[in-house]
Symmetry: C2
């Protein structure tokens, strides 16, 4: 049997997406269910089974030789379990074993969603050709992943690159994670909006108080909106510089809704990076927007399955 495809799953708090993906990273079949996030664990698993069932109905299914899963975290790749914050019915849920059973024993690779998006950016996006990269998602939360020495670095449990929860302000505001002054606590979309509102920013007649609305106000020159993005940029810069100083990356890629804010974010971010990335070996660090889109999670999960481990597919290099 010719197994030149992989099945990919992208599991989040809102939807469970599946696909059959070829070695060039092309999506040849798709399936999707809403995540029954507030229901019991077996009901969530049933939705995963339905996505896989749809894919198995494709005439291409027989060519799938492995399954790659990118899941909202935390995950535990060594145990094959997941405990997504927004899916309370899954705590230490044995997702890898369950998917292996459903698929008749196919090998299953599990990584966190930030690591999956990193695999996608390294394979097809802005980190292509970079052997040492940080890829981030800045939206409702702040996540990320690392490529080190040309290979994905998921870490032993598949959670490495979790830049949203490093503290860049050790006396700062409490973060829901239990720490203080985390990058996410300062730079996530909701925190950008919260800070602007607290400082007196007034939304437009549509009442939109999202970070996207703050970005629009900043582009129009509203100084409070500008300042909120500058503060987010400062925290992101401190976190990116810390990462570069610790593991020597030469590029940081930023995706997610806040990453789409454009120069309102990237201009102060590049300026702040020169303040925090000071040592000789990190001064050439660049920061760019992500290039992959909504399929990044699926494509990255496929990359993990194609290589049966943390290597990027050969075609990507």
């Amino acid at each position: 049997m010719h197994t030149d495809l992989v099945a990919a799953l992208d599991i989040g708090g809102t939807k469970i997406a599946g696909a059959l993906v070829d070695r060039a990273g092309r999506i040849l079949a798709r399936a999707q269910r809403a995540t029954p996030a507030q229901q019991d664990g077996e009901t969530v698993m049933q939705a995963v089974a339905e996505v896989l069932g749809d894919l198995a109905g494709s005439p291409l299914w027989g060519r799938a030789g492995a399954v790659g899963i990118g899941s909202a975290g935390p995950v535990d790749a060594s145990a094959g379990t997941v405990s997504p914050v927004n899916v309370p019915g899954w705590r230490g849920f044995p997702l890898v074993d369950r998917v292996r059973e459903i698929t008749g024993g196919l090998p299953v690779e599990l990584i966190g969603d930030g690591v999956a998006i990193t695999a996608a950016e390294h394979w097809q996006g802005a980190a292509r050709g970079h052997d040492n990269a940080l890829c981030m998602v800045v939206s409702t939360g702040v996540g990320g992943g690392l490529v080190l020495g040309g290979r994905l670095h998921p870490g032993p449990t598949g959670n490495a690159g979790h830049i949203g929860h490093i503290s860049v302000d050790l006396d700062g505001d409490p973060c829901p994670c239990g720490s203080r002054g985390c990058v996410e606590r300062i730079a996530s979309g909701p925190n950008i909006a919260r800070r602007a509102l607290e400082q007196g920013w007034l939304p437009g007649p549509d009442g939109d108080t999202s970070a996207a609305a703050v970005a629009a106000a900043a582009r129009a020159g509203d100084p409070v909106a500008v300042a909120s993005f500058e503060r987010a940029a400062q925290a992101l810069a401190a976190g990116i510089a810390a990462t570069a100083t610790l593991v020597e990356i030469d590029i940081a890629v930023i995706g997610g809704g806040v990453g789409k804010a454009g120069e309102v974010l990237f201009t102060p971010l590049r300026k702040a990076l020169t303040d925090y990335a000071t040592l000789s070996f990190v001064q050439r660090l660049t920061v760019v927007p992500a290039q992959t889109g909504t399929d990044a999670g699926l494509v990255g999960a496929a990359a993990a399955a194609l290589t049966r481990g943390p290597e990027v597919p050969a075609a990507a290099r």
Copy 2:
């Protein structure tokens, strides 16, 4: 010719040490010169040549098959050059080529001194058996290195693990590196002593204002001295937690003069780690004192040469 030994060089701002080291990590011959740190680059190089000359006078020299160098940073392993902060005559100095010439073409491995100490701790010290570790030196400065996936992670230029210059206080005091609120700016020995003095700590009749004297006062219950160590511990904890969150380490090893302060440092450090290392995959992180001594730099440089790259010698696993 049987080449079962390596020559190791440990180059710092005070001394240049050399040794012949076997595959078990035993030092079989030694040589040393003071570093003429304020003189021109060729004079510094002459001291290195004299150390190598002494080693070459040993009857064991013929068994040396490679040279490992651990140097004060920054280094550039990819270019083979060094620019130690405290040796102004060496800026982009081609140390690897020069050592290769002197030794008749032996292969030369160059790493930063923090990476070298990490190699030593992984081979013979407290990080033995740990596949993912951060090793730190906390003394006049704060340096470090990483072991990831069982292998030393020097990074492309040999400087990775530079935890002393990550910012944990993005609005904090300016650091000589150009950034703000760096771990070193809060936790180094001179900064522990400075903070204690600023807060009203009075040295004893001997007038000793070193961090060791502050540690002694803290052990005796002086609240200002205790508070200065607690603040250092907080900064170290934030930096260690950030490292664990980014790359998934399970142990942090602390050496150097401040690391010898004992429970005055380690008790508040372990407490602060529970504040900052909050995500599930970093909660089992432990922090312990270093075990290797003043030869750590030589032993680590030897480890790098024995493996001709970032792997730890097989005997160490």
